[in-house]
């Protein structure tokens, strides 16, 4: 019974955090894009637009959910549900930290410890294409259908390099279980280079990482591969005909997919929760120092706030004090074994997410034939060659 209670609590916690994070990812994305383009971004709702996700949610919930005439009602309603359900499933295999004991209960910092973790992620992501294809087809609109067909072709094509790029680090790690993968990346070469698969001997997996990230951009339908929703040609692609909460479901699914992909990349290539340099050289003090510095900066800026931004005088110090309190939590010895690995994991995930947004703000969109040509004539052969080389090196050195 204990097992069920712990699982339920963890599932609730992860779901709540994940969905909130999805909502704030929209805010982060808009802010980063805005700053890339020298704009302030969302600013009105709450201090620096911090309550924007909430107002977006209220807006989407109170909008009328239009079901257009001549749609396939069942599939039309099924598609967004499927999208969000599949996007939320794969997070269950991601370990956010090592095992720890609390109140006499030992549990992992993740929902499950599955032996076929990476296969589950692949399986669920391969089902994700149905949601988009169905949504596009059931809408009974030419733009949606084009978007759905494009995405089906694109996701099938980019799944191959994605899977091949996953296989090469697995050759080094010898396991399909995410927790064992991260544990396998423990330790340091020459005492300071982390033994993450992206750096590891005998064959650093830099190329696999790049191929994985490129394919992940395509799998999550992000710029520069966002052909399924290319607004200049297809209005909004497969979700043209969707409104209200069904639109929000597609949106949540997209962001949840980005988070999952970044988590998988972190666990597979970037050493999961392993710190950047050994704890002996003080890596445990990085989180409190960084968060504390951020808090102090907010306190300083709060006192220097412009006259026109009167709210900043209040909101900056409050958030700064919150940050300082958070930094203090990292110094409590009881919480350290949980919080510090979690900090490293999340910081790597956030860096990857920042790259996703950065690319969106920088690169133009591919043309459809270029997209397919790139997948089949460059990415797939490159992934194959990389896999062969890795296999050869592993076979020769072991």
């Amino acid at each position: 019974m204990n097992f069920y209670i712990i699982s339920l609590v963890k599932a609730g916690l992860v779901a709540a955090v994940l969905l909130t994070f999805c909502a704030y990812l929209v805010w982060i994305e808009r802010k980063v894009l805005a700053h890339i383009q020298l704009r302030p971004g969302p600013y009105r709702v709450g201090p620096h637009g911090l309550l924007q996700p909430l107002s977006d949610l209220i807006k989407l919930m109170t909008k009328e959910g239009v079901i257009p005439a001549n749609v396939h009602t069942f599939f039309y309603l099924l598609a967004p549900f499927l999208a969000v359900a599949l996007a939320l499933i794969s997070i269950v295999v991601i370990p956010f930290g090592p095992e720890f004991s609390i109140f006499g209960v030992t549990t992992g910092l993740g929902l499950t410890d599955l032996n076929i973790g990476i296969l589950l992620v692949l399986a669920v992501s391969s089902l994700g294409v149905y949601a988009i294809a169905l949504g596009g087809w059931a809408s009974n609109s030419k733009y949606s259908l084009m978007g759905g067909l494009r995405s089906a072709a694109q996701m099938i094509s980019y799944e191959l390099p994605l899977a091949l790029a996953i296989v090469s680090p697995l050759l080094l790690l010898n396991t399909l279980n995410f927790r064992e993968m991260v544990v396998g990346q423990e330790g340091y070469l020459l005492g300071f280079i982390p033994r993450w698969t992206i750096f590891a001997a005998p064959f650093p997996q830099v190329f696999s990482f790049l191929i994985f990230i490129i394919a992940a951009f395509a799998e999550t339908n992000r710029v520069p591969f966002d052909l399924p929703e290319a607004e200049s040609e297809l209005v909004a692609g497969f979700h043209t005909e969707y409104s209200s909460l069904m639109f929000a479901a597609f949106f949540t699914a997209e962001y949840a997919n980005i988070i999952t992909v970044c988590c998988v990349a972190t666990a597979l290539f970037l050493g999961g929760w392993q710190p950047l340099w050994p704890a002996a050289y003080g890596s445990s003090f990085v989180p409190p120092v960084i968060i504390g510095l951020a808090g102090l900066m907010l306190l300083y800026h709060g006192s220097q706030a412009l006259r026109t931004r009167r709210w900043d005088r209040f909101s900056f110090p409050v958030i700064g004090l919150l940050f300082l309190g958070l930094a203090g939590l990292f110094l409590v010895p009881l919480l350290q074994p949980v919080l510090i690995p979690f900090f490293w994991f999340m910081s790597k995930v956030l860096v990857l997410i920042f790259v996703f947004i950065w690319v969106r703000g920088t690169l133009p969109r591919f043309r459809y034939d270029q997209l397919m040509k790139f997948a089949w004539t460059f990415l797939f052969p490159a992934a194959l060659v990389n896999l062969l080389l890795t296999g050869l090196v592993v076979a020769l050195t072991s």
């Binding site: 599939f75 296969l119 692949l122 089902l127 294409v129 087809w137």
Partner: protein, 166 residues
């Protein structure tokens, strides 16, 4: 727990299979088939085949069926006429025969398979990726290589068929 899980997913599988046969639109049939495949994957998990369950979802539901759905959308056909008039008589004969086939198989299975043979989750762990890979790349290496040739031929055939005007 085992029995509940089995009955749930067996029920889903049978319901989806019936739906597959009865639906007039190919897309509905295709999605029912995906339902059958994913619930069968859960049954494989119960039978201790964790790797084959994952492969079932990845290959069958995630690749083969996507191809079907893709083709159906590409052709964008309407639902078929269910049955021409002259076919009603054969169907009326065939259906009872099919159900008696199920009955015969069930009787044979029930009498031949000893009732002491039970499936309990966790009693067989030989279906994990490690054992599977060992067997695949030692005892079954030649068949494995032959399938790769088969796949190559299939790819070439598909490309030729799709490209040339016949």
């Amino acid at each position: 727990m085992d029995a509940i899980l089995f009955l749930t997913f067996a029920g889903i599988a049978v319901a989806c299979a019936i739906n597959l046969v009865l639906q007039t639109h190919p897309i509905s049939s295709a999605l029912s088939l995906v339902g059958v495949m994913t619930s069968l994957a859960v049954l494989y998990l119960l039978l201790g085949g964790s790797f084959i369950a994952a492969v079932q979802v990845i290959v069958y539901a995630g690749a083969i069926m996507v191809l079907f759905v893709f083709v159906i959308m590409l052709l964008n056909t309407q639902g078929e006429r269910m049955l021409p008039k002259k076919k009603v008589m054969p169907v009326a004969i065939a259906l009872p025969l099919l159900f008696s086939l199920i009955g015969v198989i069930a009787t044979i299975v029930a009498t031949q398979v000893p009732s002491t043979e039970v499936v309990k989750f966790g009693t067989f762990a030989g279906g994990d990726p490690l054992t599977f890979g060992r067997a695949m790349f030692t005892r079954y290496l030649l068949p494995f290589e032959v399938t790769s040739v088969l796949i190559l031929i299939a790819i070439l055939g598909a490309v030729v068929l799709a490209k040339k005007e016949i």
